[in-house]
């Protein structure tokens, strides 16, 4: 809980809801007749709507990227370190939009909301959504605000995939793209991790084929396990080693299956805490969206050909100890952008935090983002610059 709101915070924020009644045809073939998206905004939209930055969230993120919902909040939004007055995504210059993606579980239409056709909670009946579907909903959302062109679109991990898709789906609707700790498609190993996560959820007896909310229960064991596994892959060997080493709960071995090592306790806690804030069906949907993403497939695997449509300036960032989306994966995007002659800068940040590094305010990383966006800010009309 903040005693006072820090001066570089966007302050107290109230999420808002936007309803959409134009049917949305999804990549999977199904159509949503209507839907709603919950969102937050920080800063002021300028007169010609040219200073908007869209934040795309990752697997377990949501619309609450910065600031506090109340003075009782224990922590600010998930990317508060980067968004605020004077921060790299500077709300003194930019109007920042962060929304909860379709299929999410933080207020946007998704598995935990009611299907108007049946009057029941969607649950596993909610259609599969893809990165492309999200970009479509985000574009419609921009239309609602009268935003023809984003000053920048920014995202890490799965969020970076949305940015990548934006750059080629709506090339004239963004000036700059920041793609952080991301990849042009998942590796086999990544898909494999996702499959284990999904299986652990589906095999939980409380899953009830995805209709667990109707049964007034939650597959906590399965979802917790999925999160434990995921969490390991977001950290690096070194960061886990530094944090826990072989620290033990007791002075001597207990020779049982209770918590012996502190890392076990930590993972159990992380798994359990996650089940209190996240929905299992949404988790499965998000992992599938990751698996399906492969824009190069549209051009026979030629990523450079796909990216040749892009018009914006790119910043790519990777982190040395990230093994879920390793630097080599970001470099695939960079190389394709070079081959297609695009304006791209790339920096590989020394960081111990693994994939999670993209959420940390690492000075070099923050400076790169700040420098990149300050150039964008300079191109804005005078009132914002």
């Amino acid at each position: 809980m903040p005693d006072t709101i820090p001066v570089d915070s966007v302050g107290l924020i109230t999420p808002q809801v936007a309803h959409f009644d134009t049917p949305l045809v999804l990549a999977c073939g199904q159509t949503l007749p209507n839907y709603q998206l919950v969102y937050e905004t920080y800063g002021e939209l300028n007169a010609d709507a040219s200073n908007a930055i869209l934040i795309c969230h990752a697997l377990s993120g949501d619309h609450h990227a910065a600031g506090y919902h109340s003075m009782e909040d224990r922590k600010p939004g998930w990317w508060d370190s980067a968004i605020g007055p004077g921060k790299p995504i500077d709300t003194n210059h930019f109007f920042v939009i962060s929304l909860n993606n379709l299929g999410g579980c933080s207020g946007s239409t998704g598995p935990t909301t009611v299907n108007p056709a049946t009057g029941k909670v969607w649950g596993a009946e909610f259609p599969m959504v893809t990165v492309e579907d999200w970009v479509e909903t985000q574009a419609r959302f921009a239309d609602r605000f009268g935003i023809q062109t984003f000053a920048a679109i920014v995202g890490g991990s799965l969020g970076g995939m949305q940015v990548l898709d934006w750059s080629v789906r709506y090339p004239d609707r963004l000036q700059a793209a920041a793609i952080i700790a991301s990849a042009p498609k998942l590796s086999t190993q990544n898909i494999a991790f996702n499959e284990v996560a999904r299986q652990s959820i589906r095999r939980d007896p409380q899953f009830h084929d995805g209709q667990y909310i109707e049964q007034d229960t939650i597959p906590t064991n399965g979802l917790g396990l999925a999160r434990m596994l995921g969490h390991i892959t977001y950290l690096s060997d070194d960061s886990m080693g530094n944090k826990f080493g072989r620290q033990m709960r007791h002075d001597t071995y207990q020779y049982n299956y209770e918590v012996e090592f502190e890392v076990e306790s930590y993972l159990r806690y992380q798994g359990e805490a996650f089940t209190k804030r996240f929905d299992a069906n949404t988790y499965m949907l998000m992992t599938k969206a990751l698996d399906y993403f492969d824009p190069a497939a549209r051009e026979g695997g030629d990523l450079a050909k796909v990216l040749s449509k892009a018009q914006c300036e790119f910043l790519l960032v990777s982190f040395t100890t990230d093994w879920r989306f390793s630097p080599a994966r970001s470099e695939e995007i960079v190389d394709a952008l070079i081959r297609s002659g695009k304006h791209v800068s790339y920096t590989k940040i020394e960081a111990i935090e693994g994939h999670d590094a993209f959420l940390f305010p690492i000075p070099r990383y923050m400076n790169a983002l700040r420098g990149f966006l300050s150039r964008v800010a300079k191109c804005l009309p005078k009132e914002n610059a």
Binding site: E313, L315, E331, V334, D335, I338, R339, G341, H343, V344, S345, Y346, T347, K348, R364, N367, A368, G371, F372, S374, R375
Partner: protein
């Protein structure tokens, strides 16, 4: 802008695609983009330089040149530039090959170790040269492969490369009749433009 960069800039055709290996703060590419409509990328590993490039909008890639340049396709650039850095790499000869695989032409500048003052340092005083221009001690210098004007010219000859242009200049990057006449003895900086 550093005077050698001005000189290099004059040797680069307008509207070309340039790769600048060890681009520093991006001064050359900024100049080329502004005055010659040149599009290009810089490679750099220094954090401050990288950030400077990003801030001024110069495309910069964090990449260690010693780890190779395999990610660049053949003949993707008109000119590949390496200013004052060739002597800092593990295998300058192989790097030169790579530069000419990636680019049609390569422009290289390097400090001429054969300059008379260096010879005095080593030959008379018996010490490795330390000067305003080469301010390092032998143990902390990044310059691990010093060569002379003639050494580099010979390397090009051995490799069968065409020297398109060369310049031999003093510390202020001016050329004189004496630097032109005896470049190996009187030039402090050597500049070569080579191709296959």
């Amino acid at each position: 802008m550093r005077a050698d960069l001005q000189l290099i800039s004059d040797w680069i055709p307008s509207n070309s695609r340039v790769l600048d290996l060890g681009c520093g703060d991006g001064a050359l590419l900024a100049h080329l983009s502004e005055h010659k409509n040149v599009a290009g990328y810089g490679l750099e590993i220094d954090a401050e330089n990288i950030n400077m490039c990003i801030e001024r909008g110069i495309p910069v890639l964090e990449q260690d040149i010693d780890q190779g340049l395999q990610n660049f396709e053949e003949q993707g650039f008109e000119v590949v530039v390496m200013a004052h850095a060739l002597q800092q790499f593990r295998r300058p000869d192989l790097l030169l090959d790579e530069m000419l695989r990636i680019g049609k032409e390569a422009i290289i500048t390097f400090p001429n170790f054969g300059h008379w003052r260096n010879r005095v340092h080593l030959g008379i005083k018996g010490h490795m040269p330390v000067s305003e221009f080469l301010p390092y001690n032998w143990y902390d210098t990044p310059n691990i492969h010093f060569c002379t004007f003639n050494d580099f010219r010979d390397l090009c000859q051995d490799k069968g490369l065409k020297v398109q242009r060369w310049a031999a200049v003093d510390g202020q990057l001016h050329d004189h009749w004496w630097t032109r006449l005896m470049p190996n003895l009187f030039s402090e900086t050597a500049i070569f433009k080579v191709s296959r």
